[in-house]
């Protein structure tokens, strides 16, 4: 991370409150397990409701969790009155989404006043708790201030 990103005092409460409002995370069965300034982790058990045709976790479900992890990593460094929007992201699927549980990490690579770039990793854990990197994301996030309906 370059520069001197400063999180406001309540960054964790802000991130957790916004995450709670993401119904998609509840539907996915995902939980926010770590929030530090510039890094967020989300975890979930395998969820058969989100499989693709071969029985693996759908690339879109992986993207959903990675986007939230990257978005909240960015949001953790934003001013208290800002909202976060994703401009774009790229996901590389490195291995099938097969596992007992999954961990998604988002970390800020480049903070900025308007644009924040975050990188993410998705890991699958097997029954013996061995981790395997299954996907990476690079996402570009935008700080939104003063736009009606875009708080948090």
């Amino acid at each position: 991370m370059s520069g001197q990103p400063m999180a406001d005092a309540d960054f964790e409460a802000r991130v957790r409150a916004s995450f709670e409002r993401q119904k998609a995370m509840k539907t996915l069965g995902a939980e926010l397990t770590r929030v530090t300034p510039g890094t967020v982790e989300i975890e979930m058990p395998h969820n058969a409701d989100f499989t693709q045709q071969h029985g693996f976790l759908h690339a879109g479900a992986i993207s959903m969790a990675l986007d939230s992890a990257c978005g909240y990593a960015a949001y953790s460094l934003m001013p208290a009155d800002a909202g976060v929007l994703t401009i774009e992201f790229k996901v590389n699927l490195l291995a099938p989404g097969r596992g007992e549980r999954f961990l998604f990490r988002g970390s800020v690579t480049k903070p900025g006043r308007t644009i924040i770039v975050a990188d993410g990793q998705a890991y699958a854990y097997d029954a013996e708790d061995n981790a395997r990197l299954i996907a990476t994301m690079t996402g570009t996030m935008m700080t939104i201030v003063g736009r009606q309906g875009i708080e948090g």
Copy 2:
């Protein structure tokens, strides 16, 4: 589309059968509404279970439907015994995912024996049925032949 992509006679049945096996599409409430050689469309009504913190459709849900549309567009041009895997995709979010219903189109831009590149568009429709382009995807898909568990 360059070259002369040829779909086998049963391409539509193959695509529909594989789509039916994607539990993620059922959970999302998405339906396969159009299958032609190299182009697939998926539609869904607004689904409050897949919203992000501002009440818009989550970027991950948009990606899930676009990835399926692009993947099946590619799969429609593959040999009957092949399976399709997504290598990577990029999504640009152009407008908030707000609408009564959504349409996701995937089209093959470049067919190939091993690698197929597909582009996708996501549209939101308001109550008066006006469409708005809300996202685009470029995805790289791979033809898998003879790998156990990767059929369809």
Copy 3:
């Protein structure tokens, strides 16, 4: 293109003046051959100074021309006092960069006050002037106003 993008009266002169300042375009041997509101074309003959190890045009040279085409497509819709910066782009290489000459087109997919998304296509022409799509780009461009050194 969604919305009502308006180019200012001098958009073409602005684009051409900025292109002239890009020494990279001169080094590449590229010329600006078309400038309309939201679409820009750049052309160049094959240039042996920019080949990769197999004798094809280097993916980076293709990216250089596509980035300029997409960037100036965005810039053509910006206010007269703005500068343009590329936030990110993705390039898919669809066929080897082999040809007598090349055309690179950038078009605005989504205009916006701060963020503009543009898509690009690169074509190779053979000796009989048959075109072949060799690459596509999706790029995210940013309007910069009032930052010292970022004019044009």
Copy 4:
């Protein structure tokens, strides 16, 4: 890096010989300064022939060096008779390309028989030799065996 990537004994000689055939690297003024199994570094001084309109290193020149770094990182792990082709890459421009010299590093994130994913970083060094991360790349590379004209 997951799995057990094995470089053949002559990986460095193969990489260096292929790099020498890239006329684009010579034109850019770039040198191969480090070759290990799965990681390659390329360095260059500032080159005024490759600037964009504000006098910074053109995003395409950054991409050219990053693509070569990522491509050769992948190639270093390929069999001796293979060739490497870039399928696609994404570049995020994090800071202006302003510096006395530049370093581009490519590292394999996920090796594979056919598809290799590599990530890259570009750094600018000022006159006091302070480094600044100016860009990142994620690239997807393909191993080509037995195709005429695609050796190295």
